[in-house]
Every structure is written in structure tokens, then in C-alpha cells.
């Protein structure tokens, strides 16, 4: 029973991984799901560095990208029958190459954490990204390299031509990778990574070289980033410099941070949310990067522990059975907040649009007319005021819900 309880979250994870493509089976949905599982592995591997090891990296895409490049080369080997093996093993090849890169780069970059580490990671990132354009025999220059995943031996009749088949391959790998990354946190090396993050000096006085502890996390992180890169290669069948440059490194940092660095599940949430925003928002607005930036800013400012931290904040109220006290104030705050957000988006989009009419939420607005602007501004102002008012109530409700009951105080 205890075992069942312990593994219930993992069973839920399996059910979600296997069940989602049944619920959302459009081509777009499968493509998004594929991106999502890749992002989950990548973001979790990043959190091994930052959240668990205290190493802020600006170049984590290097291991993802290198793993991906080698994986595409492996696809080519299969295609030209230089070697024959199932493409199921491709992510492992990516992972091993990520691990190798991690061992090599980690051997000198993990001497110090903090700014020194961050700067080295940035430098390495730039170096590899620049090299990838120069050494075009391996990296294929700006066009990148591409392969074909359908040439290898079939697996029980599957030839992996369909995205959904690759999704299941990716889901299995993502599950294995997630499980092992979680188990790593439960080992002495994983715990010492936390200890070194908190206090590298003290770690040395209980018998551990901070550098070696960091190095081990760094290599493990490289391994899993490489696996994610391999999954990427399988999914897209091509890879370019873009997948190992600073922009990709920045995106994985965003995912982990927005999700919540302090929780194992945080980067998973971040990966899901950002992938969704990436793929869905970009359909609706050219300005989606701007909204992403605003969301990042707001998260850093108001939810420093990320989405996972926000959810976990409610643990106490939940345990005390006081969640019902919070529902109404949350609604009262969320509705005007949503209205305010929609108005702000309308204003931003209207400033951007060059069309005569602007279609928004079923309304037809005229961006040229001052009245449109005044009305939206007025609604936004009213909503903002309402949010400020209801926040006070929410605060009170929060205090009540989390207050220590009288009998517990003594």
C-alpha cells in the first residue's frame, strides 16, 4: 500500500504520457506533445545544474545540440547501412555524446560555481555555436544536417514514419530519463549536490570536494540533455546551429525557472507551459515573444519559486482543509485580473497592428478611433482597481486559511 502511494505519482505520469495522444490526436497536437516530452527531459536536465546544483548555465543547449547532431549522424549511418541498429537506441547515443561533452567541459568549468561558472558556460556556448557554423562537415553549416528515421529495422512492424510512433518512443525515453533523474536526487551524490549548492565551503569540511560534486552533476546533466537532443533528432530528423545556440540555452533556463527550480516537478510544469505558449500563442499573435517575456518578468517578481512553488504554497491550507476559504477570493481576483490582461493585450496588439479593423475576441475594433482606446483604457483602469481591492480580501482570506488553529498553538 505504501509502495502504491509512493509510486502513484509515477503511475499518473505514465497514464498522462500514454493517454494524452488519445485525447488530443490531431497532427498539431501530436507535434506539440512531441515537443513537450523533449522539453521535459531537457528542462529537468537543466535543473540538475541550477536548481539542484546551484550552477547557473547559459550554455546548456550545447549538450542538447551535440547530442542531437550525433544522433542525426547516427540516423545517416543507419540510412547508408554503415551500421544497422534500431532507431530506438538513438537517444542513448545522443546521451552518451552529451555525457562525453559534459566530462570534457565539466573538467574545467566546475571549479567554481557562481559568476565564473556562468561566464564559462556562456563562453563555451558561443564557442560551440560559432564552431558549428565553421566545421560544416559535421554540423552542416547554417542549413544544419538531416537524416531519415525510417531506414532502420522495424520494431514489431512499426517503421516510425508517423509522428505518433515517435511520440511513444519519446514518451518511453522521457519516462526512463525522468525516473533516473529523480533517483539521482535520492543518492548521496544528488544530496551532496544540494549541499554544495547551499554551502560549498562547508561541504569541503565534511569530506567532499565541491568541485567533484559539481562535476558529477554536470556530467549527469550533460547525459540527459544529450538524450533530449537525441529525441529532438528523432522527432524532426534534422538539426541546425539554432538548437545549440544561446537562444535555446535561454529557453531552457526560462522553462526551469518559470516552472520552479526548487521542486523536481517544477521544470516539467515549465516545459509544458512554455511549449504550449510557444506553439499555440505563436498562431495567434506575432508578439508572443513579448508576452513570454512579460510572463517571465512577472514570475520572477511575484512567484520567485515558480509555478510549482505557487502550487506548493497551498499545501498548508490544503492540509488544514481550508481551501474552500480561498476559492471565492481567488475567483473575485482572477476575473478582473483576466479582464485587465485582455485589455492590456488589446492595447498592445492595437499599437502593433497596421490593419484598419482589429478582430479581437469576436469584437471588431477600430484602432484608428480614439474612442476605442479610451473605452479599453477605462475598462483596464477599472479592472486594475478591482484587482487591487480584491487582493486585500484575498490577503485576509489567505491569513485565515493558513492561521494556526487555537488548539494547535499550545
Amino acid at each position: 500500500m505504501a509502495l502504491l502511494k509512493k509510486s502513484s505519482i509515477w503511475i499518473a505520469f505514465i497514464v498522462a504520457l500514454l493517454g494524452l495522444p488519445l485525447l488530443f490526436d490531431s497532427i498539431l497536437a501530436i507535434s506539440i506533445l512531441n515537443q513537450m516530452v523533449i522539453a521535459i527531459v531537457f528542462a529537468l536536465s537543466y535543473n540538475m545544474l541550477l536548481g539542484q546544483g546551484g550552477m547557473l548555465s547559459f550554455g546548456h543547449a550545447v549538450y542538447f545540440g551535440l547530442g542531437g547532431f550525433l544522433s542525426v549522424h547516427a540516423l545517416m549511418l543507419i540510412e547508408f547501412e554503415t551500421m544497422v541498429f534500431s532507431i530506438l537506441w538513438i537517444p542513448l547515443i545522443g546521451g552518451l555524446f552529451g555525457l562525453l561533452a559534459g566530462i570534457f567541459i565539466g573538467s574545467f568549468s566546475t571549479r567554481k560555481a557562481g559568476t565564473v561558472f556562468a561566464m564559462i558556460s556562456l563562453g563555451i556556448g558561443e564557442l560551440i555555436a560559432a564552431s558549428s557554423l565553421i566545421f560544416s562537415s559535421f554540423f552542416g553549416g547554417e542549413a544544419g544536417i538531416s537524416g531519415d528515421r525510417t531506414f532502420g529495422p522495424t520494431f514489431f512492424g512499426f517503421d516510425f514514419a508517423q509522428n505518433i510512433e515517435i511520440y511513444y518512443v519519446a514518451a518511453v525515453w522521457a519516462f526512463i530519463a525522468t525516473l533516473f533523474m529523480y533517483l539521482f536526487t535520492q543518492t548521496p551524490a544528488g544530496r551532496m549536490a544540494n549541499a554544495v549548492r547551499d554551502n560549498p565551503e562547508r561541504a569541503e569540511f565534511i569530506g567532499y570536494s565541491s568541485r567533484k560534486v559539481r562535476f558529477i552533476s554536470f556530467c549527469a546533466s550533460g547525459l540527459f540533455a544529450g538524450i533530449a537532443g537525441g529525441l529532438f533528432a528523432l522527432n524532426y530528423e534534422f538539426i541546425t546551429e539554432e538548437n545549440l545556440n544561446a537562444a535555446t540555452s535561454g529557453r531552457v533556463l526560462l522553462m526551469a525557472y518559470i516552472g520552479g527550480l526548487g521542486y523536481f516537478i517544477g521544470p516539467i510544469i515549465g516545459a509544458v507551459v512554455l511549449t504550449l505558449m510557444n506553439s499555440l500563442l505563436s498562431n495567434y499573435s506575432e508578439l508572443w515573444m513579448l508576452y513570454l517575456g512579460i510572463m517571465f518578468l512577472l514570475t520572477v517578481m511575484y512567484l520567485p519559486r515558480g509555478f510549482a512553488g505557487f502550487i506548493m504554497m497551498h499545501q498548508l491550507a490544503w492540509v488544514r482543509g481550508n481551501m474552500k476559504l480561498l476559492i471565492k477570493p481567488y475567483l473575485v481576483t482572477t476575473i478582473p485580473a483576466l479582464l485587465f490582461t485582455l485589455c492590456t493585450i488589446a492595447l498592445i496588439e492595437m499599437s502593433h497592428t497596421e490593419d484598419e479593423v482589429f478582430h479581437y475576441l469576436g469584437l471588431v475594433l477600430n484602432p484608428a478611433s480614439p474612442i476605442t482606446w479610451i473605452v479599453i483604457l477605462a475598462i483596464a483602469g477599472g479592472a486594475f482597481y478591482a484587482v487591487k481591492r480584491s487582493l486585500l480580501q484575498l490577503n485576509d482570506a489567505w491569513e485565515t486559511a493558513n492561521a494556526i488553529p487555537k488548539e494547535e498553538e499550545t
Partner: protein
């Protein structure tokens, strides 16, 4: 028999000499206090012994082996543990995790990433046992950074002694505590260092005369006397350099 020997140890930062030739033998099993006015170099001496600083000259032997200029982790693995003047714990980890991490090396786990901690019953029991000794059993799951000051000091002590080191060095273990807290801490120190060698830096004279078998007086980077407490009290050089200053203050 000396468990730790300092032979003409010197340390300078640039042109400033902090430790100006200290020689000292710590006998196995003794409780040895180091006292001296502020800026005498007591903490520096601790840092030199425990490997945080490199020596400028001289040599340090621990259990018959040269340890000067070795990294702190190698010295710690030999069985020399220390605490810090400013609380130095793993703030974001739970109290239990702090102690368990301090046990890893001595229990032979090294850098293992193949042992699952949930299954290491002996290790976990041992960690709970240490928590019991330092009186933090009920705070086991508490984030250590949120403990009260005296509790953090107790944890600091727990991390230092958890590994079962033979030589324990405590840097002002009761600094900043109230009188009753300090009394409790002294009891705790006595209990957990039983049968071990202790070197302690402390300002509170009552505590020192209470705990120490021998006292060394460090003044401006030199040891001017090493003796039993009653002789230290009577030593005119010490009275002039140190105790006199305290009495007149």
C-alpha cells in the same frame, strides 16, 4: 601521545604576519582551549589546521601524517572535524539532511550515485541518533535555515561531530547565546566529545575553565603559554597580556 602537532607554523597575508611561529602539541583525548584577545589569530589558526588556508611556513602533523596545505576534504576524511564561528550549515536542506550529508563520507558512500538513500536504514538511523544527541529530533524535517539561532548552533555542532571524527575543533561554539543556552550548549559539547580530542576557541572564561584540561594563550600570533587552567590563571604573563585586559574592561 600527540594527535596533532604544529611545528613553527607561520601565516602572513601580504606583509602582515598573522601567525608568527606557533608550535603546539595536542595530546590524544585532551580538551584544549585556545584563548586570546581579538585579532590574536585564533580563527586563522583553525583555518590553517583544517586546511582552509595554506601555511606560509612550518608544518602540521595529524596522526603522524603531514596535513599542511592539503585540501579541507582530505583532512576531514582523516578524522578531523570542525565547526565555524559563523553558523555554516546547508540552509535550504532539512535538519535531517544536514546531518545525513555529514555522515556520508565516514559511512563509505563517497560520491555514490547508485545507493538510494531511502534504503540505507543504518545510515538513516545513525542520522536520527545524532539528531537525538543534539536535541533536534522533533525538528528533523524542518528547513535548517529557519531554525532559531541556538538550534542552528546545535546543528552546526551536530554536522561537526556526526562523522565520528577523533579530533573536533570548535570555533566559539557558544558565541551569541544567552546564559542558559550557553549552559546547555556546554553540556552538549561535553557529552558529544566524550572520549575524543577537542580543541576549542572561546571567549567565555567560565566555560573554558569549566571544560578545558589545558589552555593555550595566543597573543598577536604567538603562543605565550600552554598550561593547565589553574596555572594559566596564575601566570603573570597571561594576566598582563590577556586576563588583565578582561578584568579592567
Amino acid at each position: 601521545m600527540a594527535i596533532l602537532s604544529l611545528i613553527d607554523v607561520k601565516k602572513n597575508f601580504g606583509a602582515t604576519e598573522i601567525i608568527r611561529g606557533v608550535s603546539l602539541d595536542i595530546v590524544q583525548g585532551e580538551k584544549h582551549a585556545i584563548i586570546g584577545p581579538n585579532g590574536a589569530g585564533k580563527s586563522t589558526l583553525f583555518h590553517l589546521i583544517s586546511g582552509r588556508y595554506n601555511l606560509s611556513a612550518g608544518s602540521i602533523r595529524f596522526k603522524e601524517q603531514q596535513i599542511e596545505n592539503k585540501p579541507p576534504y582530505e583532512i576531514a576524511r582523516m578524522g578531523l572535524a570542525r565547526s565555524f564561528q559563523v553558523t555554516n550549515i546547508f540552509q535550504r536542506m532539512s535538519v535531517f539532511e544536514n546531518i545525513r550529508c555529514a555522515l556520508f563520507w565516514s559511512k563509505g558512500y563517497g560520491y555514490s550515485f547508485w545507493h538510494l538513500l531511502g534504503r540505507q536504514t543504518e545510515l538513516n538511523d545513525e542520522a536520527m541518533h545524532v539528531l537525538e544527541q543534539i536535541g533536534l529530533t522533533e525538528k528533523a524535517k524542518f528547513p535548517s535555515g529557519e531554525l532559531a539561532y541556538a538550534e542552528q548552533r546545535a546543528l552546526e555542532l551536530g554536522i561537526s561531530i556526526a562523522s565520528g571524527a577523533e579530533l573536533i575543533m570548535l570555533d566559539e561554539p557558544v558565541a551569541g547565546m544567552s546564559h542558559s543556552e550557553a549552559q546547555n550548549a556546554v553540556e552538549l559539547i561535553r557529552k558529544i566529545t566524550e572520549g575524543k580530542t577537542l580543541i576549542m576557541v572561546e571567549h567565555d572564561m567560565n566555560i573554558i575553565f569549566d571544560v578545558a584540561d589545558r589552555i593555550s594563550v595566543l597573543v598577536y600570533g604567538e603562543i605565550i603559554a600552554t598550561d593547565e587552567p589553574k596555572n594559566i590563571r596564575a601566570n603573570p604573563k597571561v594576566q598582563e597580556a590577556y586576563l588583565g585586559e578582561v578584568h579592567s574592561a
